[in-house]
């Protein structure tokens, strides 16, 4: 055996050193573990509260619940803008493995999502991480079931039910109520421009903002308050469970009740058919607007989930302009419906309504202005009945444009009304002052030759259907300057008309003369007789016809037959009923409706008026009490009418001098 490499003492030294060092190492390990315990105590005991808060912030998410939008009802409580359940498909970007692939699969189930694929991808990418983006609403039950069935193959796709805005009457209220639509960047920018912070609700993908009409004007009232759902989420943001106790329910928007009557409104749109124009019905006692229709209309439901651009283009490009609210935003020359204004202006300045003016078919002022007949000697009543141009040209030239303009404004023209809607056009009531500011060929002088056409409602004069209805209401009311009212109540709070009524600054006797004349219009021999018979016995309608020339005819036919639609005259009619105790006023404008207010305007006014009268319990009771049956009565009246020579006086046209209407 060789020399030992390690000696005994060395072995002992090694062992001793090892024991000491192991003791030190064990001490270090123990200290390390003690340090961990200390750290644990710090986290779990000292800072426990802080981390518990962080943990629940992790665990719970507040998910906004958009509020149901306030319902809009008509005066009788019929819902005209409500909410309905809608099945929809949503996509969450961060839960899809591959958005393209998911959309491919989805496209097989819902083929139309393929068409909007680009828009969908843009929207999904614009949304925040875990925010579901609706890609299709209004699924049928079959589609909804199919999407649910294939849910396991479609990660990040879910189908749910929410509330969507619904307009049950489609186009009838489209212009008054407007519609809601998706919030656009411009909406957000508009709020920012005002220096305000856009509310978070705006960014919720299912939220809709009021875009037109009442929906826009009362958007804040209709919106309601967003609620919140406290939901438990996992680290990927997926909802694991709902915490019912921590949820705050959404508050539905305020209920808005309008003065409109759904039956009258529907009938008013119906009678227009394919024609373009507008109709306003007012209660002459309190100014409530019972109907306000613009035709042709469109289906506002299309806009709720986003109208396809093809459909939008079709609406926007149609020459009859369905998107325009012609009742408030379309202005027309009132034509002969304006004649009572001229008469009233003359009476106020001392014209005796019984004074007769002879009509031999022409009026001369520098040139010849034609009348449509030779009416002979007539007083004011007769002139309204026959719609005699000569008579009104005579008094117009006698009293001048400023007198006419003053009365026109008193009766409601040349102004907008505080009915809660924007987009009203004030139209134009010309006078000398206006001419000074808007000179023709550099000359601010009012030429006498302009006045005769002003007297028959032509020239620069422009009015809208609501103004015509207000004007008719004021004549029919006889005393008060009735102001229109559209919003009856918001959230149960009754709304007053924008401006309190004042007394009309005219002797009621003068207005009585105008009403007598308008009664004669719809009576035997009047220009509107044939188409103004209600057939409701003693309950009769008075009115005034009007034609506004759309353009110069040159040597062509005045009748309008064979002319392109866009060249025909506008056809107007104003009416009130009952004649003995006026309650309702109607104005009808048929754009390019052809010659003679009695042909296109009057029958439409009659039909609308009939509904308004029959819905009035007092008047209904009166009709029923008198024992008249509507159809019988109409037959008698029409038979009577056939025997009368009505063709010549029924035609009513004002022919303005060409140099003025240019």
């Amino acid at each position: 055996m060789s020399e030992p490499s390690i000696f005994f003492s060395d072995v002992n030294e090694r062992q001793g050193s090892f024991l000491r060092r192991t003791f030190v190492f064990g001490g270090f390990s123990g200290l390390g573990i003690l340090a961990l315990v200390g750290r644990l105590a710090q986290l779990q005991i000292v800072q426990a509260q802080e981390y518990a808060t962080l943990s629940s912030q992790n665990q719970f998410n507040f998910r906004m619940v958009p509020p149901p939008r306030g319902v809009i009802k008509d005066r009788n409580g019929v819902v005209i803008a409500g909410n309905r359940p809608s099945f929809r498909v949503l996509v969450v970007r961060d839960e899809t493995k591959d958005l393209d692939q998911t959309l491919d699969l989805l496209g097989q189930l819902l083929p139309d999502t393929m068409d909007r694929r680009r828009a969908i991808i843009r929207e999904v990418n614009a949304a925040s991480k875990f925010n579901p983006v609706p890609v299709k609403s209004d699924l049928t039950w079959e589609e909804f079931a199919k999407v649910n069935q294939y849910a396991p193959e479609l990660p990040g796709v879910m189908a749910d039910m929410n509330e969507a805005r619904y307009y049950p009457f489609g186009g009838a209220f489209a212009h008054v109520i407007g519609y809601v639509a998706k919030v656009s960047d411009r909406d957000v920018q508009a709020i920012r421009d005002k220096g305000q912070q856009p509310p978070a609700l705006l960014f919720n993908p299912s939220f809709r903002i009021g875009r037109q009409g009442i929906e826009k004007a009362l958007d804040q009232d209709l919106r309601g308050q967003a609620g919140g759902n406290r939901v438990e989420v996992d680290a990927r943001g997926r909802v694991v469970a709902e915490d019912i106790g921590g949820s705050r329910p959404a508050v539905q928007g305020q209920e808005v009740i309008l003065t409109l009557d759904a039956d009258i409104q529907n009938r008013a749109l119906e009678v227009f058919g394919e024609e373009s124009g507008s109709c306003v019905v007012m209660d002459v006692r309190n100014g409530d607007i019972l109907a306000m229709v613009s035709s042709p209309s469109f289906d506002p439901n299309l806009f709720v989930s986003g109208i396809p651009s093809k459909a939008y283009r079709a609406l926007a490009d149609y020459e009859r302009r369905p998107l325009l609210d012609k009742a408030l935003g379309g202005t027309f020359a009132p034509g002969s419906t304006f004649k009572p204004v001229v008469g009233l202006a003359a009476m106020k300045r001392g014209w005796d309504p019984s004074r007769r003016v002879v009509c031999n078919g022409s009026f001369f002022l520098g040139r010849r202005f034609a009348c449509l007949g030779r009416h002979g000697a007539q007083d004011l009543r007769g002139a309204i009945k026959n719609s005699c141009n000569v008579y009104f040209m005579t008094i117009a030239t006698e009293f001048g444009p400023d007198a006419i303009a003053e009365t026109a404004r008193d009766l409601g023209f040349g102004q907008t009304f505080d009915i809660g809607l924007t987009g009203q056009k004030a139209g134009l009531v010309p006078d000398r002052e206006w001419r000074r500011r808007n000179p023709v060929r550099g000359d601010g002088k009012w030429y006498p030759g302009e006045t005769p056409s002003y007297g028959i409602g032509q020239g620069a004069l422009n009015v809208n259907a609501l103004q015509l209805a207000v004007y008719t209401s004021r004549i029919a009311n006889g005393r008060q300057a009735v102001m229109p009212r559209l919003i009856k109540s918001i959230g149960g709070v009754e709304q007053k008309a924008g401006t309190p009524f004042g007394e009309l600054p005219y002797d009621p006797q003068m207005l009585k003369v105008l009403r007598d004349g308008m009664e004669a219009v719809t009576d035997v021999g009047g220009t509107g007789f044939r188409n103004s018979q209600l057939g409701l016995g003693a309950v009769r309608m008075a009115g005034k016809t009007g034609t506004a020339q759309a353009q110069n005819y040159g040597a062509g036919s005045r009748k309008g037959a064979g002319r392109p639609w866009a060249q025909k005259d506008h056809n107007l009619f104003i009416a009130y009923a009952p004649t003995d105790n006026p309650r309702y006023a109607v104005s009808v404008i048929v754009q390019h409706g052809g010659l003679g207010g009695g042909t296109a305007g009057a029958p439409r006014a009659r039909e609308v008026m009939k509904v308004a009268l029959l819905k009035d319990p007092d008047i209904r009771a009166r009709i029923e009490h008198a024992g008249f049956e509507a159809p019988e009565d109409a037959g008698v009246r029409e038979a009577e009418a056939r025997g009368e020579p009505i063709d010549a006086p029924a035609v009513d046209v004002a022919a303005p001098p060409p140099e003025v209407t240019q």
Binding site: F18, T22, F25, I33, A35, L36
Partner: protein, 385 residues
């Protein structure tokens, strides 16, 4: 059985005697910790035995049996196998570097293809380094272990695998191998002068290494650790979520299966690296303190076993295994509590994962063998085998 009885000739070699010499307190603590792991894996698996809890318990059962079998193996055989095991492990680490043999996953080449399966040589090396160092120091004098040119042998034994593993790259394993080796050198009696010099050098060179020598993701981890709130949804997210899980557990915890952080998957790697956070969240300070006490118990009992061995090889092998185990616990604990960077070191026995479990249990087999054969005499001197 009395001490006199065990000192009878041949008595110590009897199987029944050997069984009584197993340290059952240590075995029991190991079972408690592994059982807690199974329980937690059941909880974070959503109250289900699959996918983790059942597998964990089955693996532990097999590893426990293996540990008991290994504890019956005479320390002499361990001694003779020390260099061969180390050599094979080193060879495999080198083979990984040959393209085609190494298996790459998640950017690191840590696995070696051996036909029917893949093995992770760095795990074998954790045992291999301990065995080789213990074997070398067994033949070294006190002077050689303290301050001597021959210290380049243990440094080489540690350095070669360290560099190979770090190159994979597997910073966690490399660090464990390096630190375990350092701990063994320390316990073998390394001179304080060298220790002082190394510490001073470390202080001077680690910051430049972090900035220039590390992979991007490694540096990112380290920097994030220094300021976790700077990047709360990236790498800092793991540390933040782990701290939230720990802190929100409070004193008594949220209850078994009720930890929102772990159940709702806010806690990353909840079944492996961050299982301790899940324990702390559901069982609170009391639970996690008890668990740490169990770990401390395992470490101290193991060190006690090491100190009782008659052979220097047994002492260093046992204490080396214990050092590895303690480093696992301390690094993982510091990591989940936000005291150390996230380095991918699991909590031994608690975390899901077969390889680490196998390594650790083989290690405890060695510790047990040391205990059972504490009187065994080993050949002296520098024999190769």
């Amino acid at each position: 059985m009395t001490a006199s009885a065990i000192s009878r000739p041949g008595e110590r070699e009897r199987f029944s005697t050997k069984l009584t010499q197993i340290d059952w307190r240590l075995a029991a603590l190991i079972c408690v910790v592994a059982g807690t792991g199974g329980l937690m894996l059941y909880s974070v698996g959503g109250g289900s035995w699959s996918p983790w809890a059942a597998k964990h318990m089955i693996r532990f059962g097999m590893c426990l049996a293996l540990m008991l079998v290994l504890s019956m193996i005479n320390i002499r055989y361990w001694f003779s196998m020390a260099y061969p095991v180390y050599g094979v492990a080193l060879l495999m680490l080198a083979l990984i570097e040959i393209p085609g043999l190494g298996y790459t996953a998640m950017g690191a080449t840590r696995w070696l293809n051996i036909g029917f399966t893949r093995i992770q040589p760095s795990e074998i090396m954790k045992i291999g380094v301990v065995l080789a160092l213990a074997r070398w120091y067994h033949g070294a004098s006190a002077k050689e272990a303290s301050f001597h040119w021959k210290l380049i042998f243990p440094i080489g034994i540690i350095g070669l695998p360290f560099l190979l593993v770090a190159h994979q790259p597997d910073l966690g394993s490399a660090m464990l191998i390096g630190l375990t080796g350092a701990a063994i050198m320390f316990m073998a009696g390394l001179s304080w002068k060298i220790i002082g010099a190394v510490v001073a050098a470390g202080v001077a060179f680690v910051p430049p290494y972090v900035m220039f020598g590390m992979h991007e993701y490694q540096r990112h981890r380290v920097l994030t650790f220094l300021d976790p709130e700077a990047d709360p949804s990236g790498t800092g997210y793991h540390i933040m979520q782990s701290k939230i899980a720990l802190g929100s557990g409070g004193l008594l915890g949220k209850g078994f299966g009720l930890g929102s952080q772990s159940q709702l998957e806010f806690l990353p790697e909840k079944q492996t690296d961050f299982i301790f956070s899940a324990v702390s969240e559901e069982f609170g300070f009391l639970g996690s303190f008890t668990l740490l006490a169990c770990y401390a118990g395992i470490i101290l009992i193991s060190l006690r076993i090491a100190s009782l061995s008659h052979s220097h090889f047994g002492r260093l092998a046992s204490s080396g295994v214990t050092a590895t185990f303690a480093l696992y616990v301390l690094i993982n604990g510091a990591m989940v509590m936000g005291l150390a960077p996230v380095v991918g070191v699991p909590m031994p026995l608690l975390s899901y994962g077969g390889t680490v479990m196998l390594t650790v249990m083989i290690g405890f087999g060695l510790v047990m063998a040391t205990r059972v054969h504490r009187y065994a005499e080993l050949p002296k001197g520098h024999g190769l085998i």
